[in-house]
């Protein structure tokens, strides 16, 4: 049953299984285990980024396609939902069609980019996606009458998903059972569902062919597979998944702007999360996204504590001063890529005896 749910793709390492279970339990019970707004924000962000990073891994790790347009698809999903909600009011209907429209638009864009440029060499495809994504980001910031420009969009979501809505008057386990909690579980279950769908995709005959195409495109052609078709389909699937993750973010934040969805910084973060977690395995996306976002959110606090603890030592306390957190984040990445060249999952799987 469980194996079937995971499409037969088990973690294949006991340590990895334990870590994944810890992540799952922490995310599933995040509102109760880690009360507080900031930790709930972090948990929701982790859920959404797991989907986003997994969808990128579908492209990079399974199909071997380097794309820089992933945040564009993420943004299309987010803006689809955001525009629908601001234009037609906070109803579930507008939420649904906005999400659908975003996903469809992302699919159409991906199809067009794929058919135009997947025939050429990988480097050209990467360049084309970079150009298209940059153009899209400029377009969004210029069309401020529609998108709110750099300020982005603030909008209302259905009342049942907002903190104002109280499901139960009393606190349960010291936690308010309100709309925010419902919104979190919407994000959590939607992410879990999308992740399982992607796990199904990569373990299907389609996923197997993708890996063959990545391994050697000529050989795949020689045994009868249309490589362009497989690459384009992978691009479209990954774009749709990214758009759906974008919609989740739009609902969760009740705000959509270029900085939260379209920026190059997010693109690079996604790339790092895939590489740190391990390419070509969706479980890598889980670990990569979790570790990266935890580090991004809490490293500064951690360093604040470290800096105070070492305040007696002059040089050391300056070195770990909270404002230098980006430096240390960088050091962490360099180390992780150095010690786990095949990602954390690759390392854990290789290490099993």
């Amino acid at each position: 049953m469980l194996t079937k749910l995971l499409s037969g793709d088990t973690p294949r390492s006991s340590l990895l299984t334990v870590i994944l279970l810890i992540v799952l339990v922490c995310l599933a019970f995040a509102p109760f285990l880690f009360p507080g707004t900031k930790s709930l924000e972090t948990a929701a962000r982790i859920c959404i980024f797991i989907v986003l990073v997994a969808s990128y891994d579908l492209l990079l790790g399974y199909a071997g396609i380097v794309s820089f347009a992933h945040t564009m698809f993420f943004g299309i999903g987010a803006y689809g939902t955001a525009l629908a909600l601001s234009a037609t009011g906070p109803s579930y209907v507008s939420l649904a069609w906005g999400t659908l429209a975003g996903a469809v638009l992302a699919a159409v864009f991906a199809l067009a980019i794929g058919l135009f440029s997947l025939r050429v060499k990988a480097i050209f495809f990467a360049m084309v996606t970079l150009a298209v994504a940059s153009a899209f980001a400029v377009l969004v910031s210029q069309m401020s009458w529609l998108t709110g420009g750099e300020d982005g969009l603030n909008y209302k979501i259905p009342r049942e998903l907002t903190p104002a809505f109280k499901l139960v008057e009393e606190k349960v386990l010291d936690v308010r059972i309100n709309g925010k909690l419902l919104a979190y579980y919407l994000v959590f279950f939607a992410s879990a569902f999308l992740f399982l769908v992607m796990l199904r995709i990569v373990n299907s005959p389609f996923g197997r062919t993708l890996k063959a195409v990545r391994d050697n495109a000529f050989r795949a052609e020689a045994i009868g597979y249309r490589v362009v078709w497989y690459r384009t389909t992978a691009t479209v699937l990954s774009a749709v998944m990214a758009a759906l993750a974008g919609s989740l973010l739009a609902v969760w934040l009740r705000y959509t702007g270029p900085a939260t969805t379209l920026s190059m910084e997010i693109m690079i973060d996604i790339l790092l999360m895939v590489v740190i977690g391990g390419m070509g395995t969706l479980y890598g996306a889980v670990l990569g996204a979790t570790l990266f976002i935890l580090a991004q959110t809490y490293l500064q606090n951690l360093m604040g504590i470290a800096s105070e603890a070492t305040s007696a030592v002059p040089f050391l306390s300056t070195l770990v001063a909270p404002e230098r957190w980006l430096l240390w984040l960088g050091v962490l990445f360099v180390l992780s890529v150095y010690f786990f060249p095949s990602g954390i999952v690759g390392r854990l799987r290789a290490g099993r005896a």
């Binding site: 050697n216 795949a220 045994i223």
Partner: protein
């Protein structure tokens, strides 16, 4: 005389600035093994790759079962029933043996009976079913490569130097497997430098030099006519005997 399954007439192939095939005329009769001989650089591999559509012929016609396939895309040619076992084995090293086999069975699940026939032909396929194909030895990779080509019945199999770089014991088991495959009425076009092997398995033979076919006929005739062998192939094949 059996029907012609594949025919090349006046095929020219250019690779970049090089004019490799300079008018190849070749008939492959249905059923049986046709061996393509010739020294290194004669254009044997290019001929196979041109048939497969991996290089496009700049001139001439390639016909397969009465259809011109010269300009078709490789996947389309493959779907018409031609399988290709390239010289570099052409297996997917990142995938398991099982995955390699499943990929080749493009018409659905693997036929169990055929698979057990194949694992009898090539025992390592069964033994290393779950292993990564990249970890196999050279001989095992070659076996996988051939096994993959025959996982579904094909009308024509192109095999490029299956014995290249293999140990004598493995050459023998490869030869035995190809002989058994021949019994199933599969047509094989085999490129081979090892004349001993080629003559033991071939029915018809074509000899290439400088991008052309310079001799074609019965294998038996060539085997008996040592003077012709000498003339056609000089010393290059002698050393292999």
């Amino acid at each position: 005389m059996p029907d012609t399954l594949l025919s090349l007439s006046g095929v020219h192939t250019h690779i970049g600035p090089y004019h490799i095939l300079q008018g190849v005329d070749l008939l492959v009769p249905e059923g049986g093994v046709t061996v393509l001989l010739g020294r290194n650089g004669a254009g044997k591999t290019t001929t196979l790759r041109t048939i497969m559509g991996l290089w496009t012929a700049s001139q001439g016609d390639i016909r397969f079962v009465d259809h011109v396939i010269t300009k078709l895309a490789t996947p389309e040619i493959s779907r018409r029933g031609i399988a290709f076992v390239p010289e570099d084995m052409g297996i997917f090293t990142d995938l398991t043996v099982a995955e390699n086999m499943m990929l080749a069975a493009s018409n659905g699940p693997i036929d169990e009976k055929r698979l057990s026939w194949i694992t009898d032909l090539f025992p390592p396929i069964g033994t290393f079913w779950k292993s990564s194909a990249g970890t196999l030895s050279g001989g095992q990779k070659q076996m996988l490569s051939v096994a993959r080509a025959i996982i579904e019945p094909r009308r024509l199999i192109l095999i490029d130097e299956p014995t290249k770089g293999l140990a004598p014991a493995i050459i023998k088991s490869m030869t035995d497997a190809l002989k058994e495959l021949k019994e199933t009425d599969t047509t094989i076009l085999l490129v081979e430098q090892n004349f001993a092997m080629a003559s033991s398995i071939g029915d018809t033979v074509a000899v290439m030099d400088d991008g052309r076919i310079i001799h074609s006929g019965d294998m038996q005739e060539l085997v008996e006519d040592t003077a012709l062998q000498e003339k056609l192939m000089g010393l290059t094949l002698e050393v292999h005997q």
